[in-house]
């Protein structure tokens, strides 16, 4: 029987870490992810798990130590947020290019500046091209479930890549909600023991990890890494199916909420998807055909699958909780529209920036986005692109 509890997102992830009981966890505290290593060290102090916890002096060191431990043959992880992830930048790329299946639990927080501790996706999106698999959660339940699925995905022989399990800072990490937990035994047998084929502390079988490569090898190595990331798509779906058999909870690359006959779809990542679903429910009551596509897996980016899922709607609102300073929209806006073009799905698309640094995104905000799409469709125009929601402006339409 599943265990019914109430927990914050950080508690849920720490609980999952205790159940998986990895070998090594180097970590450095940063808001809002601090509770995760704090709770894990409490579990260790109480003798409830035997992970080797390494208190380090920075996130540069926590990721370096996690890489070293993983290469040595230990199942490793760390946790961070915001500037902590930025300080790991160099090592993130190494973890992926050295094909180390370690896990990072990211609690999304804005990157400075202005300095601020609240949620947006600028940290995770900043690391989007580091070669990591990125899985985003809507709530504490998904943060818990995604963590349990992370190692089976990362360690799959056709993947061997690190996984970033992301949840929204404070909104998910600190809000207490109901949750259904799996029994320790079920989690342990689902995740299994880590038995790497090749590792540094393997007497008589020497290896070198991360050697210098001359130009004649680098493109081939990168291509192989890209193939592994593509392979991850099928593995993520396969692991999700196995997880459903254990938990009864189903996951895909994204969730399609009432999109089947939808004219207008909001494409969104993370906790705000719950807000968008509420808006859709209310609009459906009024007979309005609205839906939500909640992206769970951002890397590998399921461009083809998204294009397929959107092809029958009239217009999509692509919601970015991140400014990318490319002058043309947010990261999700750029990638989704590129995907639609490549697969020749010529629907209307409009990109919005919302919720930066914890700015509220309300059901009313979401409903206004849907109304704007409908008005544009009736008028036969395209809504203004790349707009900020809830921005104070002299040109506000009211």
């Amino acid at each position: 029987m599943a265990i019914r509890e109430r927990m914050s997102g950080n508690e849920a992830v720490a609980y999952a870490i205790r159940q998986v009981n990895p070998d090594v966890m180097p970590a450095f505290p940063i808001t809002p992810s601090t509770e995760i290593p704090q709770m894990v060290s409490t579990y260790i102090a109480n003798g409830e798990m035997d992970t080797e916890f390494i208190p380090v002096e920075s996130e540069h060191s926590s990721m370096s130590a996690a890489i070293g431990a993983q290469a040595a043959g230990a199942r490793s992880l760390t946790a961070t947020s915001s500037a902590g992830l930025a300080l790991m930048w160099e090592e993130l790329l190494l973890a992926a290019s050295n094909r180390l299946p370690l896990v990072l639990t990211l609690v999304n927080r804005t990157l400075s500046g202005p300095i601020n501790i609240n949620c947006d996706h600028s940290d995770g999106m900043g690391a989007r091209d580091t070669g990591w698999i990125q899985i985003y959660a809507e709530n504490n339940q998904e943060a818990y479930d995604n963590f349990i699925q992370a190692y089976p995905i990362a360690e799959h022989p056709s993947v061997h890549l690190p996984v970033m399990v992301c949840q929204d800072g404070f909104i998910t990490s600190h809000a207490v909600e109901n949750i259904e937990l799996l029994e320790d035994g079920k989690v342990k047998s689902f995740v299994g023991e880590y038995e790497p084929e090749e590792f540094l502390l393997n007497p008589g079988k020497p290896i070198a990890v991360g050697p210098y490569a001359v130009s004649n090898y680098v493109m081939e190595a990168k291509k192989n890494q890209e193939i592994a990331l593509e392979n991850a798509k099928a593995v993520i779906l396969d692991v999700a199916e196995k997880f459903a058999a254990v938990s009864g909870r189903h996951y895909g690359l994204f969730e399609e909420y009432r999109t089947q006959d939808a004219d207008f779809i909001m494409l969104i990542i993370g906790s705000a998807a719950g807000t968008a679903k509420q808006a859709v429910d209310e609009l459906r009551e009024e007979g309005y055909k609205a839906g939500v596509l909640k992206l769970r897996v951002f890397r590998p980016f399921p461009a083809k699958e998204i294009a397929q899922a959107l092809k029958n709607c009239k217009m999509v609102a692509i919601m970015d909780r991140c400014e990318s300073y490319n002058g043309n929209g947010g990261p999700l806006g750029s990638e989704v529209t590129a995907g639609l073009f490549r697969y020749k799905v010529m629907i209307g698309a409009v990109n919005y920036i919302y919720g930066l640094a914890g700015r509220d995104f309300t059901v009313e905000d979401a409903k206004e986005v849907f109304a704007e799409m409908e008005n544009a469709m009736i008028a036969g125009t395209q809504p203004e692109q790349y707009r900020y929601i809830g921005l104070r402006s002299q040109e506000a339409d009211e």
Partner: protein
């Protein structure tokens, strides 16, 4: 499965390279001919050499082989021509020459 890394070369297709370019062998740096980088070359004047062996341990690339207490000729496959050995030699038995 372990790949025989001695069979990998600059013509190997990407499918046959090791994961993350992991090396399944030790001491492979000797196959990397760093001597190609050299712009100055040490020349060994054996007749001036007293076999004091001050040069061998200061070589950063282990390019002065020592056998049975005697140093031999330079390993030009790996010598980068830094000139430290020439500075260390008290007898002028190592001369730096421009070029390779």
């Amino acid at each position: 499965m372990r790949t025989d890394v001695t069979k990998i070369n600059e013509q190997t297709p990407h499918e046959e390279l090791t994961e993350g370019l992991m090396m399944f062998a030790g001491a492979t740096s000797k196959y990397f001919k760093t001597g190609e980088w050299r712009t100055n070359t040490p020349v060994f004047h054996e007749e001036l050499c007293k076999q004091c062996l001050l040069c061998a341990p200061v070589c950063p690339d282990s390019s002065i082989p020592v056998k049975e207490g005697l140093r031999g000729g330079f390993d030009y496959d790996h010598c980068k021509g830094c000139g430290i050995c020439a500075k260390a030699c008290p007898f002028g038995a190592i001369e730096m020459k421009e070029g390779i």
